[in-house]
Symmetry: C2
Subunit: 586 residues, 2 copies
């Protein structure tokens, strides 16, 4: 195999076009080997194999610098920069190589840790400026997909790249898809450019001051090499718009692009996946519930921002929802501001977003939404430690962030029935923006009564009245609270158990009452404790005799953590909590 | 006067062009009357007088809905929608009317509270969608300045407005200026459009799918009316690009646009302002210090994002800095990501931003900067209660936000010498992103020794070792800590006084030592206490016997607050703190 001999991109330089095509085929096979056994991003990586071979043939990394947007297309780059073992070997070898661009893994060839979208051009302008100040000559190349172009940061980056006026090459990898289909006016222009072979008069990039090259054959190594050679060492801001095929070279991924954007392991023969155990999911429950409610209420609108699967809105369900579903493309700022406008205009918008991406829109939540007190609903999905664990996708920080924004109510349901009761109330009320943290510890049902009405001022629910120790266990950590209560009971402590339900402020009345016959309050939250829920309770009691054991994860940069180890390191296993409680109260 | 008789925009309908011109003149005089006596946004409001008269003549508010971007141009609208008293009367009358679009003030005519930039189109798309779903026919009109177009949210909004495909009118009020000069590739296209009377082939807006109209005479009521009438009731996404003159009708504001964007009261005769008392400012000290350092270090780069005055970088100083100053336009996301790229590339970037605007770039700080651990410096200006106080410009939330982002060091100098020592250290170190909260309680000097080296792990500075009570007073509240210590000493308590210097984490060693002979720790921070600095200390001690009095402002939506009242309401006056301390320890 060629690729086993390619330790650095320099090893490509002497190869013929024929040999480079073999390298491309082998690289594609390596990518498929990894994703079929390990899972990962399939379609975007397959579509960018030829371009990666051509880029590394034409340019000279690491002197020339690549910045991969969102890094959904960086696997071929990894294969060609000394990390083929993560693609050819067994699953353990694959685990050693992350799914994202990572200087921690390859300080020489990867310039940035990247996992959120629309950042590449902005990051690259920094390298561009550094080169210009230091008098360097290297090429700076940002690689951005058409889907990633819809995020505000990408536009800001393009605007500045043109302003700088010096050499930067922005490869627009246009596969006519975001994670799902694209949404936005810019795609009208990309389409016109594709259909005119880059020749149509209206050209957004040229209007913004870029040199512009178009290549229709974006999966043709030879043509790609010609194109990249023609812009190499340019001293002008330059767009290279290449038309690629998402999933190229693997028929199932070409045939059905959305589910093949990212996926679990599969059978290479036919793309089939092992039958997944039939399990309830909030994605499916939510989308079904919404579709049903939408039929009764034409003002109910489901919003997503580039990740419709976060809300279970598959292509079929989006179609069924019609005008009552709207996907913004990867544009979370727009999602929030538009939701605020919709609520102001009398609609009932519900935006569903993964915890890790909500931080892309702090200011819009604070300004466009909360200062205006418009009654939009935000569903925060996958908040907690049992979801994503790459350093760029950690879902532990939504509680500190959202709870520091005045005017926002943040609810934490502890089971399925409570979630839908809260969702219904949030949608029907008309006074405040409400965020709801969907439980992330599986779909747990209750037969207990669940309140149908909630309030803007927190009101804790006392599940069990005991004494000495009170456990306030929020959201997906409620069941941990139940476990700890049981274990304490084995130790002779009849602990009070509380479902706080509200994260954004404390229920002072409930906390005050606990003073009568408790000496320790334990708080449990499935997230970062610094600035979070429990610290506010610690602060509430800080001038009293009540002791508070704050349970949550320490603020830190985590990467591909093991959940059990994370729990143990933060003294969050059930046994550790019991041990710490006993040490304090005994 | 006409405008005294105009209670609603309907009162304009019967007027002739001649009369409308008189209304425009009177409106301009009213705006000038307000800004000369009360201060406020001058240039952008003066330039938009004629357009406002024409908009209200052509469209039918409140059925037709206006959304003013950033609201720097909404004064004429206020004059014509029943709020002329805020412009004609005395300063007390003026205080009753805010400087921003505000439904709290006018629920009928103002659709959103707006003060941050680039939000109008996104908000308007929400109203557009609501109209479409509900089958309405009203016009939705977003009004956005050329300067505001550089923010990511504006691009996301335009992208979606085109996608929706139904009627929305976006008035691009092009006065060839942001707050300072514009920066970005988009301005090349606006210039080409102006110079070709809107006819040039390359047209960004058309490329994105908009209908497009250009009007050169953007301060001509008659032409504006014709233009707006031509797009009224459109069923297509439509850009109306009008060329206006910033400061129109007031010679000093036309002659020198940047200082006349916003300003304090002035003499109407000649635009002169009362001689300001000569006071040191961090803006001036910082910019001078940087210019001096830049001469020695060509890799030192000062960054601003549309508000160069936050850093004292006047036009003259920007010129002096040359390529070592870069303004992004109003594009905070780009500022952070590019700073990260610059630091990666070996430069030493320092971005200065007002506290209220740092929340526009949470994700870039977390992802582009901190996960990558690139050593860029962020100067947070005006953090605290003594700065801006409009609901959209509150500067109390930067501590909770920045302290919840892992990997970021946040320093809080307590005086001028300490600030520059920290700044120098932050610039010279090469391992971590560092934010510094510039003191906001005036420039206070010290003759005490100030450390020249800092660390990534917090190390508190014990200013005075006492017992029983320890005061940990951060940043601009350090002097309050000194005052409280003095008052406690009058009450027989020799309090320990600590300058914590670091906000992002606690100094566990210092806190542990206090346990020996203290029973109360008082924390003081000039900001929101929910999720802030003091709560982390309360949490640290929460399982011990140490009591903690957390001093800060309660999380809430504040608007045009009085500082003394805010202090008193939060028990933050020196006397109240002493009273509370005595109640706990006596």
């Amino acid at each position: 195999m060629y690729i086993e001999r390619i330790q650095t991109p320099a090893d490509l330089k002497g190869l013929s076009i024929k040999e480079l095509n073999i390298v491309a085929d082998e690289t594609r096979a390596a990518v498929l080997n990894r994703v079929s056994k390990h899972g990962g991003h399939v379609g975007p990586n397959l579509g960018f194999v030829e371009a990666t071979v051509a880029l590394h043939y034409v340019f000279n990394a690491p002197e020339d610098k690549f910045v991969f947007d969102v890094s959904h297309q960086c696997y071929p780059h990894k294969v060609l920069t000394g990390r083929a073992s993560g693609f050819l070997g067994n699953v353990d070898d694959m685990n050693a190589i992350s799914g994202y661009s990572s200087p921690a893994e390859s300080p020489v060839y990867d310039n940035f840790e990247v996992g959120h979208t629309s950042t590449s051009v902005s990051l690259a302008t920094g390298l561009q400026k550094a080169r210009d100040i230091k008098g360097g000559k290297e090429n700076i190349i940002a690689i951005i997909g058409d889907g990633s172009l819809s995020g505000g940061e990408a536009f800001e980056g393009l605007d500045e790249a043109s302003e700088l006026g010096t050499g930067i090459i922005i490869v627009v990898n246009d596969n006519e898809m975001s994670i799902a289909e694209n949404h936005g006016g810019i795609y009208k222009n990309l389409k016109a450019l594709r259909e005119s072979n880059g020749q149509c008069e209206l050209n957004w990039f040229k209007a913004w001051g870029f040199e512009y090259k178009y290549l229709e054959e974006g999966n043709n190594v030879e043509k790609l090499i010609e194109t990249f050679q023609s812009v190499k060492d340019t001293d002008k801001p330059t767009i290279v718009h290449i038309h690629t095929e998402k999933g190229h070279g693997f028929a199932p991924a070409v045939a059905d692009k959305e589910p093949w954007h990212w996926g679990a392991p599969f059978n290479m023969e036919d793309g089939s996946r092992p039958e997944a155990p039939v399990m309830e999911s909030y994605e499916e429950l939510y989308s079904n519930w919404m579709l049903n409610e939408m039929k009764k209420d034409p003002t109910l609108i489901a919003i997503t921002a580039g990740t419709p699967t976060a809300a279970g809105f598959t292509a079929a369900k989006r179609k069924e929802a019609g005008k009552q579903h709207i996907d913004m493309g990867i544009a979370e700022e727009q999602a929030v501001a538009m939701a605020s406008g919709m609520a102001k205009g009398g609609l009932r918008p519900v935006w569903t977003v993964y915890s890790t991406f909500i931080q892309r829109t702090y200011d819009q939540i604070a300004q466009d939404l909360c200062i205006n007190s418009n009654p939009a609903v935000i569903n925060v999905a996958w908040g907690g430690m049992n979801t994503m664990n790459d350093i760029t996708h950690i879902c532990l920080f939504d509680i500190p962030m959202l709870c520091s924004i005045p005017g926002l109510i943040y609810l934490a349901p502890t089971n399925c029935e409570e979630y839908f009761a809260m969702l219904r109330w949030a949608i029907l009320q008309d006074k405040k923006p409400i965020a709801i943290r969907i439980p992330s510890n599986g779909v747990i049902h209750t037969t207990d009564d669940v309140d149908s009405t909630y309030t803007y001022e927190p009101k804790y629910k006392i599940a069990h009245k005991g004494s000495e120790v009170a456990i306030i266990a929020a959201g997906s950590f409620y069941q941990k609270g139940e476990n700890v209560a049981k274990l304490l009971s084995n130790n002779g402590i009849d602990a009070t158990l509380i479902n706080p339900r509200y994260l954004h402020a404390v229920d002072a009345e409930a906390l005050e009452e606990l003073k009568a016959n408790h000496k320790l309050v334990v708080t449990l939250e499935d997230g970062c404790k610094d600035g979070g829920f429990g610290e506010r309770i610690a602060s509430y009691y800080s001038t009293s005799d009540m002791k508070v054991l704050v349970g949550g994860v320490k603020k830190d940069l985590y990467d591909r953590f093991d959940v059990q180890k994370l729990l143990a390191d933060n003294r969050l296993s059930d046994d550790q909590i019991v041990e710490d409680v006993l040490q304090i109260v005994r």
